[in-house]
């Protein structure tokens, strides 16, 4: 008799299943608009030229050792990564009330932040503090917070399917009705999956309510630089909240903007009221990290730290990031043009209004099914597409297929 005899099969993660189905598809016209990773015009993953360069530097550097990194991570990585989020001249950094924990990608940063909040925020071990995630949101948000022990995870209104934009009223309404001290997971920029971000004015309104009700801001920043092509522009919301006096967490991922998906480079930036509070928070986070992975991996962090701290490499990286962002912007513009030229019913402004890797096309599940089954174009059931999957070679086929789906499938 097996101890594990009754264990049920877990449901597969939708986006991975989509990629698996795509791989098995033999159709020569197939297109993968599912998974969230950058692709070049040739539909290949892209090793950033600056990354190639620094990788070689690291491999040739015989003075580097292989010892464990400190539990909180590589110091020069943590500080330079936080600077990227908060700005070179951040007064919070000058006031020494900003710290960070190097984590295993954005997921790891969310994990450490969630575990800390469950233990020490809003009381001790208060698993009942509500955690709000946007409707919709990255499918893993719920699981990370729930596994950290939070019992009450709720959606906040975000996407308005009717007008294909932000449901600001609903969002503000949910903020107002949330119990004080609730935790809100906010997407710093390039909202996943909708690609729809609040404007600066809208962020100000959001911050106002959050301040008044002492709601905790936990930013998820996975696309800084990737959204607009400009690091500072993409960090505006986080920096605004800091300037308004918020204590907050920002889970940063360098997977997308460094193309380092496989080395798991993440940073949890912590902004506290003062240095004393910061130190106590970091000391508890060290304990949490110790029993999760003990020490974070060195390769990716070294690479990012060297790049961010070396002026010529930093400039080269910003350039590489802009290359990626520009290609996405180009594909957005072209897709919209082609749909308009085809006379596809509906409005398609949202394709260029939305920002970052993803676009919520507005296709309904039946239309999505048509795209996948009949046209071998793989996208999420929600209608989300990854703009990086588009190239000048396949964009006509995709536009025509969308046109067919919209006109023939209700």
């Amino acid at each position: 008799m097996s101890i594990f005899g009754e264990v049920p099969q877990a449901a597969p993660v939708a986006v991975f299943k989509l990629t698996a189905d795509f791989r098995e598809d033999q159709n020569p016209s197939k297109v993968n608009l599912g998974v969230g990773a950058y692709r070049t015009e040739e539909c290949q993953p892209w090793v950033l030229p600056v990354v190639r360069k620094v990788e070689k530097m690291i491999a040739d550097d015989h003075s580097l050792n292989h010892e464990y990194l400190p539990i909180l991570g590589l110091p020069e990585f943590r500080s330079s990564a936080s600077k990227i989020a908060l700005g070179e001249d951040s007064s919070a950094i000058k006031d020494k009330r900003v710290g960070a924990v190097q984590c295993l990608g954005g997921t790891g940063a969310l994990k450490i932040g969630a575990e800390f909040l469950r233990r020490w925020y809003n009381g001790t071990d208060n698993t009942k503090t509500p955690v709000y995630v946007s409707a919709p949101t990255w499918e893993n948000h719920n699981a990370v917070f729930s596994n950290a022990g939070f019992e009450d995870i709720r959606p906040y209104k975000y996407w308005d399917a009717g007008k294909r934009g932000l449901d600001l009223e609903g969002f503000l309404g949910d903020l107002e009705s949330a119990p004080d001290h609730s935790i809100f997971v906010l997407h710093a920029c390039a909202h996943n999956p909708t690609g729809t971000d609040p404007t600066q004015d809208q962020w100000k309104k959001i911050a106002d309510v959050m301040k008044r009700k002492s709601l905790f801001a936990f930013f998820d920043s996975a696309y800084q630089g990737f959204a607009s092509g400009n690091l500072d522009k993409d960090a505006w919301a986080v920096r605004y909240f800091v300037s308004q006096g918020f204590e907050l967490f920002c889970a940063q991922s360098f997977s997308k903007n460094f193309g380092l998906y496989n080395e798991r480079v993440g940073n949890l930036t912590v902004v506290a009221k003062d240095q004393d509070n910061l130190n106590r928070v970091l000391s508890q986070m060290e304990k949490i990290a110790r029993v999760t992975w003990s020490n974070p991996p060195s390769q990716g962090a070294r690479l990012v730290a060297i790049t961010l701290n070396t002026p010529e490499l930093f400039a080269e990286w910003k350039d590489n990031v802009k290359t990626m962002a520009d290609r996405v912007l180009l594909m957005r513009a072209q897709l919209k043009e082609k749909l308009k030229a085809l006379g596809t019913p509906g409005t398609w402004e949202h394709i260029t209004e939305q920002i970052g890797m993803f676009s919520f096309t507005g296709l309904n599940p039946k239309q999505v099914e048509y795209m996948v089954k009949e046209k071998h174009i793989y996208l999420m059931a929600s209608g989300r597409i990854n703009m990086c999957g588009l190239t000048t070679k396949n964009i006509d086929y995709v536009a025509e297929s969308i046109h067919e789906a919209v006109t023939t499938v209700q």
């Binding site: 097996s2 101890i3 005899g5 292989h66 400190p70 990370v144 991996p297």
Partner: protein, 411 residues
Amino acid sequence: MHQHEMSARSVFDGAVFMPSQMKLLEDFKRDTHPDKVNLAGREYVGEHGHTTWLPLVRKIKQQIATDPTLTPEYPPNLGIPEFTRRATELALGKDSPAIVESRVFGVQTVGCTGAVRLGAELLRSCYCSSSSWSGPILLSSPCDDSLAGIFKAAGIEDVQYYRFWDAESNGVCVENMVRDLENAPEQCLVVLFASGHRPTGAELSHEDWKRVAEKRQLFPFFLMSAQGLCSGSLEQDAWPVRHCVSLGLELLCAQSFSYSFGLYGERVGHLLCVLKQNLLAVQSQAEKIVQTLWSCPPMEGARVVATVLSNPAHLVDWQESVKAIAERCMLIRERLRERLRLLGGPWQWDHIIKPGGLYCCFGLNTQQVEFLVQKKHIYLLPNGCLNVSAINSRNLDYVAESIHQALSSKL
């Protein structure tokens, strides 16, 4: 519009300060004494006093850095298949019945800690599939500080201890251990150590292991952090795990490649799961848990290990270097024993050379350990355990004399 002032209190003011997890190491770093020795570290340290680079590892890392075919894509949640396959074969042997019968799966994890954490979470959610199982789990007394913390963080609150190290005899008291395991509740989880116990370095004989494994109602969770480094033989060090598998037991095994490859910073670990049935379902639950911990593991270190383990020439090269580490540790132990014997006194030192590997437990009490740390600047763990690899030809005399002094002085 009325601007609301941010509260003067911090939202974090409930957080209590936690003293550093690495205090001993920090004290050592601050110590300016010229003769200071750190015998409390985890890593294998070479004769020159630093962690070592395997030339083979450096070469492979350079190859990886310049290989145009390698892409930076997200790896599978459970890690690189080539890595998990080789890690599994390494632990169980290629011809293991469990492998042949497809009753095994492996997960690439973030170091051994990651493997233990994942295993703990998996057991908590899957064990007996009734409402969340929360223990008990039996750990050895003593064991690594953080081990209990890992299980508790995973939701397994009921942590108990079985007697393991016997200070009287400077060895394992198997009688006590077996009795404690016999008295443990049904379906209790027990953490066992292959390839040397941390922090004592103690080992069990094959006969002892056979007696332990007889306790069929227990679920073994092996920690094998240094396969090959203990005896010099990969097979020998893995014997307890393989024996349990040959008895048809289900088990988990957390492996580390930190020590055997010198890849501490890269966090290369592996969780081996040997089941009787229902493999795919349990594997799918493991994937689900991984997604909430780190999504997918870091590639660099695992790529190096997979490259070595899949290449016959590299494999031989690597096995030689592992054997060399084991042999050096044994040599240090012998020389230390000899020095202590020559310094005289009523004490027995045979227990130093009995086990192999990195760690050793001296029969020192708290005052004696404090004396060594404070007065002689020799840093060892509070329970008198130390890492022999940090002893070398330059500090051997000083260490031996200091230990002798600690034992013979009226403290």
